[in-house]
C-alpha cells in the first residue's frame, strides 16, 4: 500500500479546467490552461472526486451543459456533476468518497456534455474539480 501521501483522510487536490467556444450536441473534454487533459493518478492510489464546479462566462440562451468527471476521457456515472442551463450560469455538485474512485495510471479529467439546444457556442467554460488521493 502506498504511503507517501500521508493525510489521514486522503490528500486533497484542486484542479482547474477550461474550454473556449464549447460546441452544442457534443461531449467536449476541458483542458488545463496549456492544453493538458488532467492529473495522472499515481501508482498505489485512487482519486476520489468530491466536488465539481462549472461556470460559463456568459448566460446560456438555451439547452444544457453537464459537467462530469472523467477517467481517461470516459465520463463517470456516480461522480459529482454540475449542470448549466438558461437560468443557471454557475453550478456545483458534491459526492461522497468511494462513490466512483479513479484508479492508478488513469487521467482525471472533466468533460462537458452539451445538448443539441445548447447555446451559444461562443461561451467559454471554467471547471473546478476537488478530490482526494487515497491509498488503493
Amino acid at each position: 500500500m502506498a504511503n507517501e501521501l500521508t493525510y489521514p483522510d486522503g490528500l486533497p487536490v484542486t484542479l482547474q479546467f477550461g474550454g473556449a467556444n464549447v460546441a452544442e450536441n457534443a461531449t467536449t473534454a476541458l483542458t488545463f490552461v496549456n492544453g493538458g487533459l488532467g492529473l495522472k493518478v499515481p501508482t498505489g492510489y485512487k482519486f476520489h472526486p468530491l466536488l465539481l464546479h462549472g461556470e460559463g462566462n456568459a448566460d446560456l440562451s438555451g439547452g444544457t451543459a453537464i459537467f462530469k468527471v472523467t477517467a481517461n476521457t470516459v465520463a463517470s456515472i456516480n461522480g459529482p456533476t454540475a449542470t448549466l442551463s438558461d437560468t443557471v450560469q454557475v453550478a456545483v455538485g458534491v459526492q461522497r468518497p468511494g462513490a466512483e474512485p479513479i484508479t492508478a495510471g488513469k487521467i482525471v479529467g472533466v468533460s462537458v456534455v452539451a445538448d443539441v439546444n445548447y447555446a451559444a457556442n461562443t461561451i467559454d467554460l471554467d471547471a473546478v474539480l476537488v478530490g482526494v488521493l487515497l491509498p488503493a
Binding site: 483522510d9 486533497p12 484542486t14 474550454g19 468530491l50 456545483v92 458534491v94 468518497p97 467554460l125
Partner: protein, 135 residues
Amino acid sequence: MGNELTYDFGMPVTLHYTIANIAGTATTALKFANGGLGLKVPTGYSFHPLLISAESNAAVQGGTATFKATANTTVSINGPSAALTTAAQVAVGAQRVGAEPIGAGKIVGVSVVTAGFTPTTADVDAILTGVLLPA
C-alpha cells in the same frame, strides 16, 4: 449539514485567478482562465478563506494593489489580504478559520483594490486557498 466532503479540518481547496493590465485606481474582479468569476459554495457548506497570494509579472512602480477574497463580488473585510507595493512584487496574507466564512450558494472570488498603481500594463496572478466546512 453537508457530509460528503469528509475531512477532519475541512476540505482544502486552492483556486487560481488572473487579471491582465491591472487598473490604476479601481476595484476589479479577477477571473479564472476562461472568464469564470469563482467557485460556487455547495449547499450545506461554508468556504473559509485562509490564504491569498498575489504576484505581478512586472515590478511595481508606484501605488498599491490589495487583493482580497470576495463573496458575490463583495470584498471581505476580515478575510486574508495581500498588498503589492514598490517593495513587494509578491505578497501573501493568511487568516484563521471562521474569520469571515462565505455562505452556501455564493461565489468565492478575488478582487484587487488599486490606488495609484503603476504600471497599468502589469498582469497579476492570485492564489486563494481555503477550506469547505459543514455549515
